[in-house]
Symmetry: C2
Subunit: 201 residues, 2 copies
DNA sequence: GACACAATCTTGACGGTGTCAAGATTTTCG
DNA sequence: CGAAAATCTTGACACCGTCAAGATTGTGTC
């Protein structure tokens, strides 16, 4: 429980302010000075907690991955005995997260953060999330609805597919021919069904 | 053939300068003023040809899509009687383009351009490229190596998959578990093979 | 409890950025 | 040839990330 001591616990307030600005003004509107102002401190107060803007972005992205992890976890955990539902619901949760947090999603995946591997907590949050995907994929392989293959390789394939469709849709790259008839969730559901093996029942 | 009249044909020189800066300094290093300087004109000369920075970015992205289209076309056209090879080689060309033009690729797909639909030539170039994918997918369906489904829907699925894997890899999001053992081309090839139907021979 | 030290925050400055207005120069065209 | 339009320069503005110097507040030690 962080108590206020000087002005409050800035670090987190700055991250929160960043997320809010991101949601309100988009990636282009995110500046250190605006974040500082929204947190009620002067323009270079953030430098007591983040060495530069990239660092703040890394923190916001990390927060995003933590939230994504939590939502995936929540979508998956009720069905530990039903891997197929885990896969379908997990994917739905992923799409929902991207749609509801468009700009956080962008900042997490669109290369705005330039040297990801310099931020260990970011790397950890992101690979923890990936390991969730691997687990579900593995469970699906065990019951024979996904083909036999290295689980991490297959996981990249599946995650990549969902991620790619969502990204293209977010970019408005898909709209004309397809998205007028289907929405993103539908396209993604279709994609996953294509990957599932026919059950030999 | 654009002749020099005042200082040369700026518009194109600016686009070219932009691509070069992009390749040399990355997305973060791209500024209107640097572009102008590299083209040998003063800092606000670009405003005679582009209303704002977004417009220049749109032009660079459009150029990128034209190049991508050309490379896909070149990879595909020799095999008009072999859709499977068209699909595999097209995908390889896509990955190669992303790897060789990392930052142009980013600018094309990473939401840096904020209102794509305001730039008709951009929309046209991008959807022309998409239509190539649809064509190949349709040809593959005709010979029964891809499942029956609306061609554009299936095309989004496949393009999305390739695009997602490439994006995640470019972001360094995949490295730890997978990319140490496989490279991007391998992962993508694996993904495509998963989608192909077993021939009933 | 006092005091030195460290953490936190403010103020002010620097160069770089996108954009606009005013004016200079050049091309185009009637 | 001359007027009008296109092109480019100069200069200014607000905003940005970042740094240095100093003020303020909390922490740990005797």
């Amino acid at each position: 429980m962080p108590k206020k001591y000087h002005h409050g616990d800035l670090k987190n307030a700055l991250i929160k302010a960043g997320v809010e600005i991101l949601a309100k003004e988009g990636v282009g509107g995110l500046s250190l000075r605006k974040v500082a102002q929204r947190a009620g401190v002067s323009h270079s107060a953030p430098y007591a907690h983040f060495p530069d803007k990239q660092s703040l972005i890394a923190a916001i992205s990390t927060e995003g991955f933590n939230q994504l992890y939590a939502e995936l976890e929540a979508a998956i955990s009720p069905y530990s005995k039903n891997p197929k539902k885990q896969l379908l619901d997990g994917v739905k949760a992923y799409v929902r997260f991207a749609e509801e947090n468009t700009d956080t999603f962008k900042i997490m995946f669109s290369g705005i953060l330039e040297k990801e591997k310099d931020y260990p907590t970011f790397v950890e949050s992101s690979s923890k999330t990936f390991s969730l995907v691997v687990m579900v994929v593995q469970a699906c392989q065990d019951i024979g609805i996904l083909p036999a293959a290295p689980a991490d390789l297959l996981a990249v394939t599946i995650w990549g597919q969902i991620h790619g469709i969502v990204s293209l849709a977010l970019e408005g790259q898909v709209s004309h021919t397809v998205l007028e008839q289907y929405n993103v969730q539908d396209v993604v559901s279709f994609a996953i069904e294509q990957m599932l093996l026919r059950q030999p029942n």
